[in-house]
Symmetry: D2
Subunit: 168 residues, 4 copies
């Protein structure tokens, strides 16, 4: 049983095996959510043991806004994740420039940023434990956000393939 | 004659006389426009001469987006202006929290941020020199942006009054 | 019994009663320590309930470096705390400009930053639980750091007095 | 004649031809020097014309401190350059983690940062035009700074080779 979200939990082994790592976490009052920040502390092991993440590709996405989550700060949250990449000698990749970015409010070349609305609730952070339900408060991604997210994923894998795939 | 915009140009004397200073400049590809940055270099004089700006109130606003201006970075531009304030020992004030902020895309507690659109052109940066016209390419501020700008101005003057007005 | 450090633990009531709040936390691999970030989440209550922290003065200090703590990022940690202040409508104050700042490595006008050294261990974070001892691994502050810290404290209280003391 | 410094001036063509670009500029009162920022404005051409810099590698170095230059802000200057890279869809590379970084004041994984001292003057910015001399006011790099700069250069070229060299 994987819990309410029923999704696999990433381990340090998963990270050690990967060529590219994409982290996502909500923005909380203008900063990276402490839950991901606490997880980052565990990655210090890699730093101490010969910088095992050096040269891997890193990319980040976030979510911003919603009731009680403050206003803005999504690029600050993304830059905080990018700083982690640089500390480990990783290579930072953002969302590739595309016209959709310029036409979408709160979009950022630093990484995909889902904008929560007052109506929809704080997506990604809000769990209704009583009804064991997540979907009630998470709004669906709009078309532009999906497009940017896909473009970022494609871009990361393209760079990773180029950097690490020896063509065998 | 004040030129195309026909507005007064701020002098170092104006700044020395003021209790509160509000700087505004467009965001260019994720950073503060170099024109304001170059003006900031001139303020070094105040730093060298006994930190003459120490204790003054500083606040900032910006504009983001539009064709060829990149995407996002408005909070980065505002933080760059706030860093200038801290270098001079000034006191930093943002846009006060109000519900309008949370409901407006790209709004920021760091300071008012006008969002330019692809359709409207890069407000604040675009001058049509041939027709000697600015209005053609600058869109009007929407209601939410005006509200946030007024709230920020009020907030700055309230803090300034409290900090410097001796009630005479 | 206050635990190993035997120091009082700040409550939300303490914060509500204060005119000025100075937060300090170590920098971890280029970002604010998650422990303080998690504490910041609790302050959302103030945001929801009429922005109860609005107009209070905020200032920050940090610690940077030491084995396994990465390198740099102290200003990023301080800016993250400043962002919290702006989210709550607080007024941000840094370390006032003084010659000691310019002569001290890693000093910042954003706030006092103690530099830990590889030899001394990660000050502020390292507890030897077995011997119930903190002093073994925390180096003493050097003269310049003490001077900057005092100047920041004095500066915060001066602004607070000016802003809130009605002279009675 | 290349002027006082007698060094070649980079053109937009040079940039278009390169696989990796390393920008350097002094930190001025906590922000990127406006001269480089103004040069960045010219790169908008590449953005408009099909994002011609997309996929190139970007890296940055800076200089911080010295009389009248304020205090700190070198990582802010480096992050501003990194933001430019992300705006153009470039891939960001810092200084690789190495023990020298942790032992050197003001060193940063974001990029090499030369620390100027009050005694030596503002390196990189100071030109004595009367005597047509630069060396009088620029101090020599210390051993640690040279080591970090070389490591960053090597690291950039290694990633570039991996990403773009087809082995012919």
């Amino acid at each position: 049983d994987g819990g309410i979200l029923d999704c696999p939990v990433v381990t340090l082994d998963d990270i050690a095996r990967s060529d590219a790592i994409v982290f996502g976490a909500p923005t909380r009052h203008g900063r990276l959510a402490p839950e991901l920040s606490a997880f980052f502390d565990k990655l210090s092991t890699f730093h101490d043991e010969g910088c095992a993440l050096k040269g891997k590709i890193g990319s980040a996405f976030t979510e911003v806004g919603g009731p009680g989550q403050g206003c803005g700060g999504h690029e600050a949250a993304l830059v905080t994740i990018h700083a982690l990449f640089l500390q480990h000698g990783m290579v930072t990749v953002g969302a590739p420039p595309l016209p959709t970015l310029e036409a979408t409010p709160n979009a950022s070349v630093f990484g995909t940023a889902l904008r929560s609305t007052a109506k929809s609730g704080a997506a990604g952070a809000a769990l209704d434990l009583e009804s064991n339900s997540l979907t009630l408060r998470v709004r669906e991604l709009n078309e532009a956000e999906v497009k940017i997210a896909y473009a970022q994923g494609e871009w990361v894998s393209l760079i990773a393939k180029q950097l690490y795939d020896d063509g065998e």
